[in-house]
Symmetry: C2
Subunit: 191 residues, 2 copies
């Protein structure tokens, strides 16, 4: 009997792809095994448990998203960088809703969990966007959280079909980014 030739990385990748297709909550070990042409218990040779699989998908997602943001903002600043980062984030969540959901739900399991540096790099990319606005250092953390909340909220609502009619969603997104950009430029006035 020929071997399937799997490894932890390829199982994780396949799991992430499947989660994007069917939704994270519909991702089962059986379905993934079927997709890989293997029986369910065989997956446990590569992955400790379903929780472990989800964790690996989460790390993959955070890493990919961090990379996407870094690439998108390379060589840009202020409004340009903000727009590029926002679009990259929205695009990633739209194309990879399952992965992204996994990334969101994951908690680090210990102090040397690779999820932590992956998350750090993601935050660093967003921080880099804000750097161009030369905020008061005491406001950076607030701006970072605001930016993250906004992008996260919009993207998750969108993929959950949270916006009633699908009209003008692109326009709404651009409008929201413009509002944030405007706000970041007038930041001293915010107390």
């Amino acid at each position: 009997m020929p071997r399937a030739g799997l490894a932890a990385a390829s199982v994780t990748e396949a799991g992430a792809k499947l989660a994007d297709e069917v939704g994270l909550d519909q991702l089962s070990m059986g379905l993934l095994a079927q997709r890989l042409g293997v029986k369910t218990p065989s997956l446990y040779k590569h992955v400790e448990s379903q929780a472990d699989l989800l964790h690996r998908i989460a790390i993959l997602a955070m890493t990919e998203l961090g990379d996407a943001l870094r690439d998108a903002t390379q060589g840009r600043a202020r409004t340009d960088a903000l727009t590029a980062a926002a679009r990259a984030m929205r695009r990633f969540v739209k194309e990879h809703p399952g992965r992204y959901a996994a990334g969101n739900g994951a908690r680090p399991t210990g102090p040397d969990d690779p999820l932590i540096p992956a998350g750090d790099r993601l935050l660093a990319s967003l921080s880099a966007v804000l750097r161009g606005y030369q905020l008061d250092p005491s406001q950076e953390i607030h701006a970072l959280r605001m930016l993250r909340s906004t992008l996260h909220g919009f993207a998750t609502l969108e993929v959950a079909h949270g916006f009633r009619i699908d009209t003008d969603v692109d326009e709404s997104f651009a409008w929201m980014i413009a509002l944030i950009d405007h706000g970041l430029q007038s930041t001293p006035q915010l107390t």
Copy 2:
């Protein structure tokens, strides 16, 4: 054998409370039955399925949240109304994370699903907040989506322990609201 005296409404309420305590994904029929002092299959006399239960919890959550927003914004306008609505929303999600998650995940099952009016009332409350800013009508939908995305994103990230250190979260929230308020007041400049 004495009866437990349940009804669909009380089962839903208990399910919502339990979801808030243990997390929506940990809510099982067995756990809920145990909480109600009843065996699992008995729940099916009051609720069609687990999916039905979640749907009922979702409707409850949307209704409650809509009420909370309406109450919070009564008699207020502009900055005042915005702040009150934002706080009410954040508070609700913090106190009822399970319900809120159920409300988010739910999709209407048909054209006369009570979830639809419940959602409408929620959106109407947020719309009312924006009315005070006298936006250009073409921008109302964008502002509404922005507001919803922002509040949703912040609150969900917060309950998911998405903010690394818990310091200054209140401050970040206030800062974000101030930025939105400022943006809504200078809305003509956003093209």
